[in-house]
């Protein structure tokens, strides 16, 4: 798959235009042991018709970011403290809840890791897709049902007329995820947020689902935010990547750039700790050691002064323990790489990383 085949260029569309603009988003949770800022001043753009991969480990804030965009943070204990989330210029954080409901599922849709917990077990999948359609569109029952069947066909479910009458438990994991995708895309949203969409699936099914998402993205001309911990999925599917660590964006850039030359020690460590296919040791020699990132993610309630990655970082200097670095353009790259993608890193020694 060439890089070109990933991007979508529909006639008449304006690629490069920013669809979603997230600025200084702060989301916190009240806990027994104090306030926890799961997302701390996160900013990034999602251009029209492109895919942005958000990667990070558990607790990095990647899922909370997406739930904040959808305004699905349970309040209390959660609270979106500040920042803005602009969809084509409209700040979603300022919309009345009634207006927001028209955005969800219609302009922005979401699919989750575990389709079984997102589907209602007592309704047929067809009925659930019909419900999603009729909330947002003035369609009659029969019309909406026809549309549901059409969506099931589009996502590659064999004999969709019959499958629409099936209950979720009658379908396999891969089929359920396809149903979720059909439901999410029934209203042709501008933006799809896919939160670990293939993590629960086997690799052969994962490949099918990713291929399907790619096809549909091209067909519908939508943007995708892909949230995952799997760097392989990001490398294949995303145009740009946002790396999160302990509630902060630590690096961003075009996928090819970041994978070729990471400019944050955390990204570098992540990439190095991945075993690569076809590099195994000889049959009888001891396999080599994987490079690791020692230590663990810090507790968000007891963050150190300075950089949040300092405890695990091989590049650490005194300054890192005193001043938290800002997310700045990578030195020597003028902050923008080919295609106008920002290239930034949150590290005092960014210029030395990966060299």
């Amino acid at each position: 798959m060439s890089a070109a085949s990933k991007s979508t260029t529909l006639p008449g569309a304006e690629p490069g235009k920013v669809l979603l603009e997230v600025r200084d988003l702060v989301t916190s949770f009240r806990t027994d042991r104090g306030l926890l800022r799961a997302v701390d001043a996160v900013s990034f753009d999602v251009p029209a018709q492109s895919t942005v991969g958000i990667v990070g480990e558990s607790g990095s804030g990647k899922s909370v970011t997406s739930l904040s965009i959808m305004r699905l943070i349970p309040t209390p204990p959660g609270n979106i403290e500040g920042g803005s989330v602009k969809l084509e210029g409209r700040d979603l954080l300022k919309l009345p809840e009634k207006e927001m409901r028209k955005v969800r599922g219609n302009e922005i849709s979401m699919i989750f890791q575990e389709p079984m917990t997102s589907l209602n077990p007592v309704y047929t999948v067809g009925a659930q897709i019909v419900e999603a359609i009729r909330i947002h569109q003035k369609r009659g029952r029969a019309d909406a049902w026809a549309r549901a069947v059409e969506m099931l066909r589009l996502v590659g479910i064999p004999s969709p007329e019959q499958r629409a009458k099936a209950y979720p438990h009658e379908l396999s994991g891969g089929m359920r995820q396809r149903v979720m995708i059909a439901m999410a895309l029934a209203c042709e949203p501008k933006l799809l947020i896919a939160d670990e969409p293939t993590t629960a699936l086997d690799v052969t099914i994962q490949a099918q689902v990713l291929e399907l998402l790619r096809k549909l993205q091209r067909l519908l001309g939508m943007s995708v935010i892909l949230i995952t911990h799997d760097l392989g999925v990001v490398a294949e599917f995303a145009d740009r990547i946002v790396v999160m660590y302990a509630g902060r964006v630590v690096e961003e850039g075009a996928v090819d750039e970041v994978f070729r030359a990471p400019k944050h020690p955390y990204t570098e460590g992540l990439l190095r700790s991945l075993p690569k296919i076809g590099t195994s040791a000889d049959e009888r020699t001891r396999p080599r050691r994987l490079p690791t990132i020692e230590g663990m993610v810090p507790d968000l309630r007891e963050l150190p002064t300075g950089c949040r990655f300092q405890e695990r970082c091989g590049y650490v200097i005194d300054k890192c323990r005193e001043v938290e670095p800002e997310l700045l353009p990578v030195p020597g790259e003028a902050g923008i790489t080919a295609g106008g993608v920002p290239r930034r890193s949150r590290c005092h020694r960014a210029s030395e990383v990966g060299t």
Binding site: G173, H229, G232, I277, D282, P287
Partner: protein
């Protein structure tokens, strides 16, 4: 049933006892001198009864494992990969007699343990351990780490007194990279990676230095974050070298399996469809299923996007598996009248490289 694979035992490889009956002549490269077979599975099958229908009570069988043979040598890691429901976890549990095989024979350190009672198995259990995917659900939340690890010592009577036990637990925790003050804490206070370390400490607790041992690692890192996975993998490799352990490393993550394993077996619907040295398998995959499986892995390198063999459909049900070759309904090389009629046996295509396919890929 497929033929015994990797039967290289016409030589006296077993530590004690005689070579098992029905051993095939040596095939493939002989392991280096002194290498013993620790675990031998001979045509192991495990069927589970399934109730079909509400009223008839008609009995059907789910063939979770269907005639799998495998040797694991001292100090060796055999990787076992396959999609969910292929029977890899069931097979791992049968090897430890945590489940009893429906058919087949099982050998541990040269002893036939197929029919051994659980009581007689107990002394062997010191060298037969398992590590689970989710250490949270396999650690008792009401027990402190000290109690969790100490319990294993008590069952086998390995500590002279409470003080001795505490010392041993402290040493074990240090060995898996944890501080001694972890002892008084409870599982929920730890992260996934640390809990996995506790699980490893528990498995090691009863092992004796110099005696070797066999650990089934059932998806030991699948629930962990990427940066933590490498830590656990390295720990397992250090322990293997230090204690001469053998692993059956079960995982759906083919990248990690290639990395840790000496040999890799690929399972599909209860059968081994390919078995080869790790490097060989990943470079010269011969079974179409292995090829599809490997090509489905997303490569973390945008410059190396590869052409993909996309498989159609899902894995069929092991209750009613396809006739003959279990892979034929999804196989790109399917030949009607052959693949759906005659079951391909696992045969040696090159020294040490086995595949069960009528039309294997070119090497």
């Amino acid at each position: 049933m497929s033929a015994p694979i990797d039967a290289r035992t016409s030589r006296p490889t077993m530590e004690t006892g005689t070579a098992p009956p029905s051993v095939k002549p040596a095939r493939g490269p002989l392991p280096p001198a002194g290498e013993e077979v620790v675990v031998r599975a001979e045509s192991i099958s495990k069927y589970f009864p399934v109730e079909e229908g509400w009223f008839r009570g008609a009995k059907k069988e789910l063939r979770a494992v269907d005639g799998v043979s495998l040797d694991v040598h001292a100090g060796e890691t055999v990787g076992l990969v396959g999609e969910s429901g292929c029977g890899k976890s069931t097979f791992g549990r049968v090897l430890l007699r945590l489940l009893d095989p429906t058919y087949g024979r099982l050998w541990f350190e040269g002893n036939d343990i197929t029919l051994l009672s659980q009581r007689d198995l107990r002394p062997l259990r010191r060298r037969m351990q398992i590590i689970f995917q989710d250490p949270y659900s396999s650690l008792n939340p009401r027990m402190s780490v000290r109690q969790i690890v100490g319990e294993a010592l008590q069952i086998h009577g390995l500590a002279k007194n409470a003080k001795d036990e505490e010392q041993i637990v402290g040493r074990l925790l240090a060995r898996v990279g944890m501080r001694a003050d972890a002892m008084t804490r409870y599982p929920h206070e730890f992260s996934g990676g640390q809990r996995q370390r506790i699980g490893i400490a528990r498995a090691l607790a009863v092992m004796e230095k110099g005696q070797g041992g066999f650990i089934v690692c059932d998806e030991p890192i699948s629930a962990l974050d990427v940066s933590i996975q490498a830590q656990i993998v390295n720990l397992l490799q250090d322990l293997q070298e230090e204690l001469g352990l053998s692993y059956l490393f079960i995982s759906h993550d083919l990248k990690i399996v290639e990395y840790v394993s000496h040999r890799v077996a690929v399972m599909y619907l209860g059968r081994v469809v390919e078995l080869a040295p790790a490097r060989q398998l990943y470079r010269h995959r011969r079974h179409p299923y292995t090829r599809a499986l490997l090509s489905a892995i997303p490569v973390p390198d945008p410059a190396r996007r590869t052409l993909r063999v996309l498989l159609e459909g899902d894995v069929p049900s092991p209750i009613d598996p396809p006739k003959a070759c279990p892979f034929h309904p999804r196989c790109p090389k399917f030949k009607k009248g052959h693949c759906d009629v005659e079951t391909p046996e696992l045969r040696e295509l090159e020294p040490g490289h086995f595949a069960a396919c009528h039309y294997p890929e070119e090497s």
